[in-house]
Point group: C2
Chain length 421, copies 2
């Protein structure tokens, strides 16, 4: 009898968790990803704001799985799934198109930005999902200060020193706080014609408060911390236009050379590949064991899946959800292949959520206790470093943070990539 | 009386040394560079071979000079010099063209690759001068292993596992050694269809020995160390053709998907800007005080200058030469502006040259003593780390090296940038 072949698409938190939990099991596993590394997305905003280097928050997928002899890794882009013939179509890294057959399929393809139908905004208001997004945003931010330094008119200087962050979720809050700190702390003595501390950072949120997933008290604490850093928080403000000159908030024109999008995410194309039922964010509706009702051999996890919490609400798009789902699906698969009884329906054990704002400012919501300030900030650092993959990355990131904290400098202020000569 | 204005073009080793030696002097200094960072070029090959991250070998120019109140920094590209009106023309970072007047001009614009008139080779055989070159070469090397893993035929697999490095100078030797180590050590357990240790690394040198600037004994030691690592060293071999399929060495076809150019450098455009006399590598002929005979207010240093050693031979394009020349020009300028006697002609104090090959293999030539092996390798590490700019960079690079040495892993194996999805 040949062994069952499990194909996992995507090596984010969900896919990687499924793969590591299947390592050593009596199955063959193939992990397919468009990139050769697993990215620790929660720290990506620190790459975008020149605090960390890409390699500090990314590890090669092959290196993570190199001891798992039953797992192979393919670098390639999945373009479709044929769920009748049970194959996925992969555009190879550089080679010809290939078809890979599966017995079981786990789709963990994550999410991308959503511009709510205004895709033309992407060019002027980039979002933050990939490493190249982050180095691109870093280039924009640092170049804006350089251009302001060289500007001939006060008006142009003001435009290049105005940074607009759209969306008051964790990404938006963290980006706004980090840009304000970069300007006020790390860049403070670097220029001669401008004072970087005059930089204006505007955080725009359409809803009535920041961090809607947190308790109202912590939303308010986050707002106060941001304002202490000099960030202008605009609540209940809807962006009606984005272009090279800036944004329109309602009917107000805000001139800005640097706009960052942290507002919306949409699931990847998995629902389209499967022809499956999806929610309005494009996430595939899955059953209590995270498989498709119509195709029990196909599972969706993480940001790809619309799964329900015990309270009947859909689970949020968080790393711990994806990781627990990956581990759960591995358990379901092992049971099913071994002919054992199926485990109980998936149940998410949430420990809480956190967001950081700046030096000694963060919020943490554990349900039973809600904290902010220095303690939340220390906890945030501890948790994020302890989840970073790779022993070396942890040490290096901790040293970098310590160094930044002590010297008020930030480590990776490089303008690289296209257009930087 | 207004203060003299000194314009320094280029913030490499030479320009930065001139600027730091003019910090605090009774002059105004403007440093112009196309990039916002100073790059520690001797370690760039480690970025190209996934050992280090860009930010570990680059520091923002503004941060280095932030305490020098009489020095300002401009991010921009110099396109020409008007030596009659004493101005340089700068294409601003993102702004309109500007003209900047100088009393004294220091050109430290470095060198770029030379393809000996075969510029069409650049696309298939990239050279290594900039950070984007290095991350591009890293992408090519890592993608070649990925493609070999996915290849359908033995022939194609062989082509993607063949790496050709052209030029047996320090860059070529270091690249060939580092690629061989990456394949044999760090990637060893990462693949399922290929054995990375079967990778073929060919180092092609037209001359009769490697590292022509070193003693013949060390050239031979380098060759032996490389061969022990599995590198094929081809001496007296001339590349007659480079294309997407590989190279021609004389009349022999060598199929390879990854070609790296380390053969030739040529000075930047400074000689053309000045309409000055130049040598066949494009370096400006300067007098004993490094100024132009026809324009004593213009100085050229580093790879931009053809200056003579005490033995009448031109000085080599090394970091210590550029640094000493920068410091010397600062001294000449201060003396001249203060009306003091000119210092003695420039005299280069060379301590020696080094090149590294791999784990515990390097060569060091100090003239009076020539060493190779583990001792040379330790010395090489010590010297390179001690010259790295920034306290943090030193610690982080040392930790990274230590970690790689102990674990046999390398730290920055990311495929990023255009074409990596």
């Amino acid at each position: 009898m040949t062994r069952s072949h499990i194909v996992i698409v995507g090596a984010g938190f969900g896919g990687l968790s499924a793969a590591t939990h299947l390592a050593g099991a009596d199955v063959d596993v193939t992990v397919i990803d468009r990139r050769n590394y697993h990215l620790f997305q929660p720290l990506l905003y620190q790459v975008a704001t020149a605090g960390l280097s890409p390699a500090q928050i990314a590890s090669p997928i092959r290196a993570i799985l190199r001891r798992a002899a039953n797992v192979r890794v393919i670098l390639g882009k999945v373009t479709s799934v044929d769920n009748r013939r049970r194959t996925v179509i992969v555009e190879g890294g550089t080679l010809e198109e290939r078809e890979i057959a599966y017995d079981y399929l786990v789709l963990a393809t994550g999410a991308r930005h959503s511009y709510f139908g205004r895709d033309e905004w992407e060019g002027v208001a980039p979002g933050l999902k990939k490493i190249d997004d982050a180095t691109g945003i870093r280039r924009r931010i640092l170049t804006a200060f350089e251009t302001a330094e060289a500007a001939q008119s006060a008006e142009s200087r003001r435009q290049f020193l105005t940074f607009v962050v759209i969306g008051g979720g964790p990404t938006g809050v963290e980006m706004a706080g980090a840009i304000a700190e970069l300007a006020r702390v790390a860049l403070r003595h670097d220029f001669r014609n401008i004072d970087p501390r005059e930089a204006r950072v505007v955080l725009v949120e359409a809803g009535p408060r920041l961090l809607a997933a947190f308790s109202p008290r912590l939303s308010e604490a986050a707002r106060q911390s941001l304002e202490k850093l000099g960030v202008e928080v605009r609540l209940g403000a809807r962006v009606s236009q984005c272009d090279a000159e800036g944004v329109m908030i309602g009917t107000e024109r805000l001139r800005s050379a640097t706009i960052i999008w942290g507002a919306g995410v949409a699931a990847s194309s998995a629902a389209r590949w499967l022809g499956a039922e999806k929610d309005r964010n494009g996430r595939v509706m899955v059953g209590p064991d995270l498989s498709l009702p119509s195709h029990p051999e196909i599972f969706c996890i993480g940001d790809t899946a619309h799964a329900l919490h015990t309270d009947g609400k859909p689970l949020p798009g968080l790393a711990p959800v994806a990781k627990q789902q990956g581990a759960y699906v591995a358990k379901v698969l092992c049971a099913r292949i071994a002919g054992r009884a199926a485990p109980k329906p998936f149940h998410y054990r949430g420990w809480g959520t956190m967001a950081t704002i700046g030096r000694r400012a963060a919020v943490a919501d554990f349900g039973w206790v809600k904290i902010d300030g220095t303690l939340a900030w220390l906890l945030w650092g501890l948790v994020h470093v302890s989840f970073l993959i790779g022993f070396r990355n942890r040490i290096v990131v901790m040293l970098d943070w310590l160094w930044s904290y002590v010297t008020f400098q930030s480590g990776a202020r490089l303008i690289t990539g296209p257009g930087s000569h």
